[in-house]
């Protein structure tokens, strides 16, 4: 009997994988539901004896089974998109059934946890430090140092919290780990628990990910005995983007408004319920089993400069070959967009690429030489964030994107700090005025004699742009967290790199 492997990842389901699976089933095949290879333009992708077919619709099934399908892509493992990757976190992607303990153990699962139990707390932290692993959520903080801080803290209760509130547009790697390889995340958290001597872990998943929630809950039940005495629980978010910020996430688990906390105290010392807490992103924790099993030094062999190891890069937006591409740091942005991503899906020229989600900068193609590396992007006034890349073609209006960044910040601000809460709304108003290409006359209040500092003459377009830059400066340095603090990245990059969309010619671009 023919065995057909089709993903049950929610992206494949959204593209109609269930219908295709039912058609294979009706044709007498045995259908195995596996994780996704990450070649999203080919979903629903069917695999028969290593050969791939996609993107399929139910009516394609007969041709596939008779060997006549025009949608055959050859051996999946040798597909250039897969063959060029260095998969460590996503080593099982496309190959195993997500909730099969048998598949997980047969593919090296629990090896990291076994070794962690053998070597003990201090040696685990040393391995993680040696690996050079940095927080994959965006901040890039060295994981080993964070773990060491929690390990040294004295407390009766400590927590491991996994940040799975993947709200950034253009990112989906956390979702793919949770839906495709849930035991990997559980193993990573159990190792973190051993490292810092925490007995309890929470996975905070956004409510927009119902499939990931269901898969993680089932996986936690299935593996409870394996990770015991470590106990895990899923907590579901409630539609607040800002809860992806670690202190806001902790407040949310505690049952409070998802407001950001001022730091210090660091969550490592006073985190969940005031106890020492490791807060790590899904991808950080999911990288841990591999580096424990193979050694921190082996993990650090790959990478670029101070960014060690691999990064699961998410290629999204208007791109021909979108999907998950895991590779060592150092690959250039141009390679990712043009070569691996195949350029835009619309066939029009690429105009801008937003790297790092809604709080990341927009880069023009003149930045395509940039290597994927925390420091290189920071030096170019950008960030790699959670490694999502959103491609836009030349139909994009960058002043609209800048406005969206401000309005998104206004909608999602937790309200705790003024620059973010009020600055974002003022930013929307400012960009609206700039888009109308007109200045602003003083209003009634501003003309009152008491308002000494208010300008009494009309503000020109140039004044308004200077004001927007000033506002961004205030938000960047005055906000408590990355939401208000990083919203200036998309706004200022749009303004400075695409000034023509704001009615200014590049020559009169204001000095920075």
């Amino acid at each position: 009997m023919t065995v057909v492997r089709i993903s049950n990842d929610s992206l494949a389901l959204a593209c109609g994988a269930d219908e295709v699976a039912a058609a294979f089933d009706a044709a007498g095949c045995t259908v195995e539901r596996v994780s996704s290879w990450g070649m999203h333009w080919l979903e629903p992708l069917a695999e028969i004896d290593g050969q791939g077919f996609g993107p399929l619709q139910p009516q394609d099934v007969a041709a596939v089974l008779s060997g006549q399908s025009a949608k055959a892509i050859g051996p999946i493992e040798q597909h250039p998109f897969i063959a060029r990757q260095q998969r460590r976190t996503f080593v099982r992607a496309g190959k195993t059934r997500p909730l099969s303990l048998e598949d997980y153990a047969a593919t090296g699962g629990w090896e990291g946890l076994r070794r962690a139990r053998d070597i003990g707390s201090e040696a685990i932290v040393t391995e993680v430090t040696t690996s050079g692993l940095r927080g994959r959520g965006g901040a890039g903080f060295p994981t080993g140092i964070k773990w060491q801080t929690v390990a040294r803290a004295q407390a009766a209760q400590k927590y491991i919290v996994c940040n799975a509130d993947e709200g950034d547009s253009g990112t989906f790697a956390d979702r793919m780990v949770m839906e495709g390889d849930p035991f990997l995340l559980i193993e990573g958290m159990a190792i973190a628990g051993l490292a810092v001597e925490a007995m309890r872990g929470y996975i905070y998943i956004r409510s927009e990910y119902p499939h990931a929630i269901a898969t993680m809950e089932a996986a936690i039940r299935a593996s409870a005995d394996i990770v015991a005495p470590f106990v895990l629980e899923v907590r579901v978010g409630a539609g607040a983007y800002v809860c992806g910020e670690e202190t806001s996430l902790l407040n949310s688990i505690e049952g409070k408004r998802g407001e950001v906390r001022a730091k210090p105290p660091l969550p490592a010392l006073e985190g969940l319920f005031g106890k020492p807490t490791v807060v790590n992103n899904v991808l950080t924790l999911a990288a841990v089993p591999w580096l424990l099993a193979h050694g921190g030094a082996a993990y650090a062999e790959v990478g670029f400069s101070r960014s060690r190891g691999t990064m699961p890069i998410q290629i999204a937006g208007n791109v021909k070959h979108g999907g998950l591409f895991e590779t060592g740091f150092g690959v250039t942005l141009g390679d990712l967009v043009d070569d691996i991503g195949g350029g835009t899906a619309s066939g029009r020229p690429v105009r801008a690429v937003q790297v790092g989600g809604p709080l990341g900068a927009y880069h023009p193609p003149s930045d395509f030489h940039l290597p994927f590396d925390y420091e290189a992007f920071a030096a170019a006034d950008g960030l790699i964030g959670h490694a999502g890349i959103t491609v836009f073609d030349d139909s994009v209006d960058m002043s609209r994107q800048a406005r969206f960044a401000m309005s998104f910040c206004a909608a999602e601000s937790c309200g705790k700090c003024t620059p973010c809460r009020i600055g974002s709304t003022r930013g929307v108003e400012l960009i609206d005025r700039i888009s109308e290409r007109k200045g602003r006359a003083p209003d009634r209040i501003e003309t009152l004699p008491q308002m000494h500092n208010a300008p009494k003459v009309e503000r020109t377009l140039g004044d308004e742009i200077a004001l927007l830059e000033d506002l961004c400066e205030t938000m960047k340095f005055g906000s408590l967290c990355a939401l208000g603090g990083f919203t200036p990245y998309p706004v200022l990059s749009a303004l400075h790199r695409f000034p023509e969309d704001f009615g200014i010619t590049p020559v009169v671009e204001p000095a920075e």
Partner: protein
């Protein structure tokens, strides 16, 4: 605790008291309670806020503050079926704004904006009745509207 989903499935519509009793012993019980109340009753009423506050020894203001903070909780019921349309950057890059302009929303249906369903390489995307839909075009979106109406 891990039995939540199963427990919910057994009693389709648990009472407020049952929901509170099920979660009250947990660390940080408020969000799980509010999720279940929202799922069972379609909104979190003032009465529910009063009972939850009493059970958890919180002030009503504290519970109200939490309910009003999160987009997922609403305080007045809206029985209309909704289409959650993603309008974040990746879907914008794939033309969701032009697509949204073509929609005629039938009576009795509402469109909610969500920021990201995590299918950013195959947008525009939407969720209806818990089911995800990708690669939307005007025809597919119109069919979804029809289905919801």
């Amino acid at each position: 605790m891990a039995e939540d989903g199963a427990t919910r499935a057994k009693h389709m519509k648990p009472s407020l008291e049952q929901i509170i009793a099920e979660h009250a012993h947990r660390e940080g019980p408020l969000l799980p309670i509010l999720h279940d109340v929202q799922a069972s009753f379609g909104h979190v009423s003032d009465d529910a806020i009063r009972s939850i506050a009493h059970a958890l020894n919180l002030s009503r203001a504290e519970v109200h503050g939490v309910v009003s903070f999160y987009h997922d909780f609403i305080q007045t019921p809206d029985p209309r079926p909704s289409l959650k349309l993603c309008r974040a950057e990746a879907c914008q890059a794939r033309g969701v704004e032009a697509l949204a302009a073509t929609i005629t929303v039938p009576d009795g249906v509402r469109i909610e904006t969500v920021y990201c369903l995590g299918l950013c390489s195959v947008g525009p995307n939407a969720m209806a009745h818990g089911k995800l839909h990708a690669r939307l075009d005007a025809a597919k979106l119109a069919a979804l509207m029809e289905m919801l109406a």
